[in-house]
């Protein structure tokens, strides 16, 4: 009886510790990813990025944080006050919640207890991921609507239409991964890639996932909802100070999250020689983030009709065809 309670308490404390570490690492990672993006983009444009705050600009995220916290909190007249306050929280929290199912490594064994290095090993982990990214659309929609401004509304409309179109191809591109791993749980998917990462077997799926992921986060070339030279700042025009900081952070947390998901689904998760699993996962996230920054520095922006064309008329049929081909190949390989 008492051992059950002590087990429960130990499990709970471990969970809180894991949550704390993951949250801290995620927030720090997202903040420094902003700096890394600014410096990498600058170098691609043969200029130096931020280098005044601290050596190599390393204190720049802290300077930005202090700036955002000390700004005046403006709520526009006529804005829906309750929803205006909640929208950035929706955007940021759905992004962070996805990290609850990402595995960081093989289990640790401390003092005879086996601690799995994942916050929760849901056996429908992939569905939870897709569901949470769908909830993220609410952040955009509520933020744009509650601002009571033309630019915000237009940005929100474009954002919502873009995000729900690309969620379709995002989900469909993950179906072959599930078929090959035989399970929706992310831990099982990573375990199924012990010998070969899925990118070698499913290159088309990886390409569709990468493009759809970039459209989900609304990154360039898909950043019409927040296009700086067209919509001022799109759905987050009317936000200032820490609220804007939350939107901004939400976008970069989603970047890290989708990097982690790309690593889990296609790049072999935490597998890799020599280094412990968590280091390999961080390396893979860094590679995916670098890829997204590289794309940002190179490509111009899509028009909204080109964007919707590509999502519905190209990526979705391609993903469906990919599913058919994968299914056929699996049948042929397993039917002896």
């Amino acid at each position: 009886m008492s051992s059950v309670i002590t087990q429960w308490i130990t499990g709970f404390v471990l969970l809180i510790i894991k949550l704390g570490i993951v949250l801290l690492a995620l927030l720090l990672g997202a903040a420094y990813l902003v700096l890394a993006e600014r410096k990498l983009l600058a170098r691609m444009q043969i200029r130096i990025g931020p280098n005044r705050a601290g050596p190599f600009g390393l204190l720049q995220p802290i300077a930005d944080l202090i700036k955002m916290m000390t700004k005046e909190d403006v709520i526009p007249r006529g804005a829906d006050r309750v929803i205006f306050r909640y929208a950035p929280a929706v955007a940021a929290s759905t992004a962070m919640l996805i990290f609850a199912v990402v595995p960081f490594g093989d289990s640790l064994t401390l003092w005879g207890n086996r601690i799995p290095l994942v916050i929760t090993d849901l056996n429908v982990g992939l569905l939870a991921v897709l569901g949470l990214s769908s909830l993220g659309v609410y952040g955009v929609a509520l933020g744009g609507w509650a601002s009571n401004s033309k630019y915000s509304l237009l940005g929100a409309i474009r954002g919502v239409s873009q995000m729900i179109s690309y969620e379709l191809s995002l989900g469909l591109s993950l179906v072959p991964v599930v078929m090959m791993a035989g399970s929706f749980s992310l831990v099982d998917i990573v375990t199924a890639q012990t010998s070969t990462p899925f990118i070698f077997v499913q290159p088309v799926s990886f390409a569709i996932f990468f493009v759809s992921a970039m459209a989900e986060i609304k990154r360039i070339p898909f950043d019409l909802p927040e296009a700086e030279n067209e919509l001022i700042a799109g759905y987050h025009t009317e936000y200032s100070g820490l609220r804007f900081g939350l939107f901004f952070l939400g976008e970069y947390v989603t970047l890290v999250t989708l990097g982690a998901l790309t690593a889990v689904f296609f790049l072999g998760g935490w597998h890799g020689p020599f280094f412990p699993g968590i280091i390999w996962l961080l390396i893979k996230i860094a590679v995916v983030a670098f890829g997204m920054i590289w794309v940002r520095g190179t490509l111009p922006r899509f028009r909204s009709d080109q964007l919707m064309d590509m999502g519905w008329k190209f990526l979705t049929p391609l993903a469906l065809a990919n599913i058919v081909v994968t299914g056929a190949a699996l049948l042929m390989l397993t039917a002896k």
Binding site: M44, Q45, I46, R47, I48, N51, G297, T298, L299
Partner: protein, 180 residues
């Protein structure tokens, strides 16, 4: 029926774009980091205004109001006064550098080459009231861009010698010698 030509051209176009960005990543940035590296400005660069002195050490400004009259933003103001030996000077002379657009019209209008613009531009202040420069802030002790011009040797009240002693001036005519 797959359009191979279009696909190839599209992919090639994308890849050359990405390759160029990657190549630029490893190039040295062309930024000149400002406080550590200051570029030398040309000598006729129009920045901070000074009031110069002539080669005899006296101030050149005669408070003729030509510079404040030509100034497009009305940032110069002064009050003229006359010294005991007949030479005009400015009792007070004020330039509002928060309004000045550094156009150089005042330098072109000045007949005595007193007001001049120099390449010194690092005059930033946090309080705009500190950008009001009085005569003692503007007056310098050298001749600026033209160090050997003295207005009163060419025109104006005869300071040195009598009437007719200016450079290039004809001697005054005694009208009684003009009689037929």
């Amino acid at each position: 029926m797959i359009p191979y030509q279009t696909l190839f051209e599209g992919a090639y176009g994308l890849l050359t774009g990405f390759a160029m960005t990657l190549r630029h990543l490893f190039r040295r940035p062309i930024t000149e980091p400002y406080p550590e590296f200051k570029r030398k400005l040309p000598e006729r660069t129009r920045a901070t205004i000074i009031l110069t002195r002539d080669p005899d050490g006296d101030e050149r400004c005669v408070a003729c109001y030509l510079c404040s009259g030509v100034c497009p933003v009305n940032c110069i103001s002064m009050q003229s006064a006359e010294r005991s030996d007949g030479r005009r000077y400015a009792a007070w002379f004020r330039i509002n550098f928060a309004r000045c657009i550094y156009c150089g019209f005042c330098e072109e209008a000045c007949p005595t080459l007193a007001i001049q613009l120099t390449p010194h531009f690092e005059t930033c202040q946090r309080d705009s009231l500190k950008l009001l420069y009085e005569k003692e802030d503007l007056l310098v002790h050298h001749g600026g861009k033209n160090s050997d011009y003295n207005f009163y040797r060419h025109a104006g009240v005869a300071m040195v010698g009598d009437k007719g002693s200016h450079i290039g001036e004809e001697q005054p005519v005694d009208i009684r010698t003009l009689m037929p």
